[in-house]
Amino acid sequence: MKDFILKRVVVIILPFLCVYGFYVILHGHVSPGGSFAGGIILGLSIIAYSTIFGIEKGKAKIPEKVLVWTESYGTLWYGLMGMVGIVKGFPFLANKLAGIDVGVPGALSSGGLISLIGIGVGIRVASTMVTLFFTMMEEEP
């Protein structure tokens, strides 16, 4: 698309969208929202960029390789956080039981493994959204 207004508006709101996405992911355990919702907002910011500036530019910003890696290791991160429980001698995915400090409720550092898992899930949801968008848009003749 070659629309001047759209391009300007996207340039202005894009940083805010990104920051908001990260905010929702990081605050999933203290405020409404969560890693799934935040990941989608983050992915949408990239989708908005590539809709307005063209798929090629979007792909230049986020190469396919990065998407594959974030997708794979974002999901693996979840499993690794689950293994923390096993390593400490407790069941898979144990959190407070495994002696992890859950902190003061309401603080950003609270929740123990929950907040860490949330980051991984958020990033991997974002990269899934972008992958789906890129793959499906390439289909257009």
Partner: protein, 497 residues
């Protein structure tokens, strides 16, 4: 250390394939590493599940209950490593390893380049992980999530073939399977609404206490579950996606789809029927009669459709429809003998059908012939492949000394004990029909003159996979001992509630 390893073994068995599947795309180009990892996971899976089954058989603190995250039952998610779980885990790992072995050299023809092969393995491992999860889970919502993982990876396995019809078949499958998932979800929702529990044990207690207050809701939950899992496991009128999907998929994928994926959904159905509703409630609502009837129709219709097919893989796919009928019919025979026979038949059909699809796949890969009528004389050109095909056919028909016979025999005895003569007759008629659609293939392959072409048996790893599976069906038929014992105990557990 050893103790904590054993305690966490059920989790390792489930997550090992999943984790390897997740990291595979990042080094998709290293073909050797990918194949090595897949085989390693398969071997470790067989070792782990074998050890679990051994522990379950020797009753050292089993059934073992594993609370995820340390949250006890109604709050967290439970895995139960009981007889049924260990049994199905053994089937999953035992069938998936030879299939992985077979696919080593077979895939490039049907799937494509390195990256596509790596993606094929990703879905293969995700499916194996999801099926292992189904074997052990004891939570209704967890069943749903696992069913979703399995369904999506099945679709991807079908569409991984480089063929326009494959994508079409996968799309049809996706639409119907999503409908099935929605119905399963609805059934779980209804059960949750009237019991307030997702854990199978608690939901079972609650539903048996209050079902008189909401009989229609229980009835609806029953029917949603039956239709939902019926679509997924290709019960007769709902099977329309199966012949296309299973015959257009790459051969190793057809083997694992027909052999294992369909069985996974049936194990879920079995768990929902017997562990959640319980057999007394089933008999109260006459669900077992419906299942016997549905199984009967499926056996007859599937076998007759299989006879009319000339395409070898389609014939095998329709045969799966008929065999699904046997298993569904067996679920409706509410006694220990019948259920144990059904479970054993499920396992032996997993082995046999993978073997049939793999040998059909290697015949197609070598000769390029897909029709039964074109296979003249292939038995002399490809002796090992055709010999394994013959063993599998005889086993599926139910000739003594093969595993299919043991399952059918127990099923027969069970149905006679239940005093229900419709299944007894149908099981025998089904065997005759099965002979009618499989023996012509063997006759054409051995007793017609061969064309002057240079066809040979496939490579070493494929031959090894075929021989391992053929040996498995013979061994299960000659010495069914521990396996049948596990199935009988699983059936006893199911009927205890």
């Amino acid at each position: 250390m050893t103790d904590s390893f054993t305690a966490n073994l059920p989790v390792y068995v489930i997550i090992a394939p999943l984790f390897v599947a997740i990291v595979l795309p990042t080094f998709a180009r290293l073909k050797r590493l990918v194949q090595g990892l897949v085989l390693l996971v398969g071997v470790l899976g067989v070792a782990g599940t074998g050890y679990l089954a051994y522990m379950v058989l020797s009753k050292e603190g089993f059934p073992m209950i594993y609370s995820m995250g340390g949250w006890p039952a109604p709050w967290g998610i439970e895995l139960v490593v009981g007889n049924l779980g260990a049994f199905f885990l053994l089937v999953v790992s035992g069938v998936s390893l030879p299939v992985a072995l077979f696919s080593r050299d077979n895939l490039t023809v049907e799937v494509g380049g390195k990256e596509r092969v790596a993606r094929f393995y990703v879905f293969y491992l995700l499916l194996v992980g999801a099926l292992s999860g189904m074997a052990l889970t004891h939570d209704l919502f967890n069943v749903y999530v696992l069913v979703e993982v399995a369904t999506l990876s099945c679709c991807a396995l079908v569409s991984s073939r480089k063929h326009p019809r494959a994508a079409e078949a996968a799309f049809n499958y996706l639409i119907l399977a999503t409908l099935g998932s929605a119905l399963v979800m609805g059934g779980i929702g209804f059960i949750y609404m009237i019991t307030g529990h997702l854990n199978m044990g608690f939901a079972s207690q609650e539903i048996n206490r209050i079902w008189q207050h909401n009989p229609h809701v229980v009835w609806l939950a029953f029917s949603f579950m039956l239709v939902g899992f019926g679509v997924k496991s290709a019960l007769f009128p709902l099977h329309i996606w199966l012949p296309d999907a299973h015959s257009t998929a790459p051969s190793p994928a057809s083997a694992i789809l027909s052999g294992l994926a369909v069985k996974g959904y049936m194990i879920c159905l079995l768990k929902v029927l017997y562990n959640v509703f319980g057999h007394s409630l089933m008999q109260e609502f006459a669900v077992h009669r419906i299942m016997v009837l549905a199984g009967t129709i499926a056996i007859l219709a599937g076998s007759i459709s299989a006879m009319t097919q000339d395409d070898l893989k389609r014939r095998l796919a329709f045969s799966t429809v008929a065999q699904v009928g046997y298993i569904i019919l067996g679920f409706g025979i509410v006694n220990t003998k019948g259920l144990a026979g059904t479970l054993f038949y499920l396992a032996s059909h997993a082995v046999i059908k993978s073997l049939l699809f793999l040998s059909a796949g290697s015949i197609i890969a070598v000769t390029g012939k897909k029709k039964v009528s074109e296979l003249a004389g292939i038995g002399r050109k490809m002796p090992i492949t055709m010999a394994t095909f013959t063993i599998a056919s005889l086993s599926l028909i139910g000739i003594p000394l093969f595993s299919g016979f043991i399952g059918k025999w127990h099923l027969l005895v069970g149905s006679m004990e239940a005093g229900n003569f419709l299944p007894t007759a149908v099981i025998i008629i089904g065997s005759v029909l099965c002979a009618a659609y499989l023996l012509p293939v063997i006759r054409v392959a051995y007793f017609e003159s061969a064309p002057q072409e240079d066809w040979k048996d496939p490579g070493f790893s494929q031959k090894l996979a075929l021989i391992v599976l053929a040996a498995a069906t013979v061994i299960l038929g000659v010495v069914p001992g521990p396996f049948l014992e596990l199935a009988t105990r699983a059936a006893t557990d199911l009927l205890m509630r």
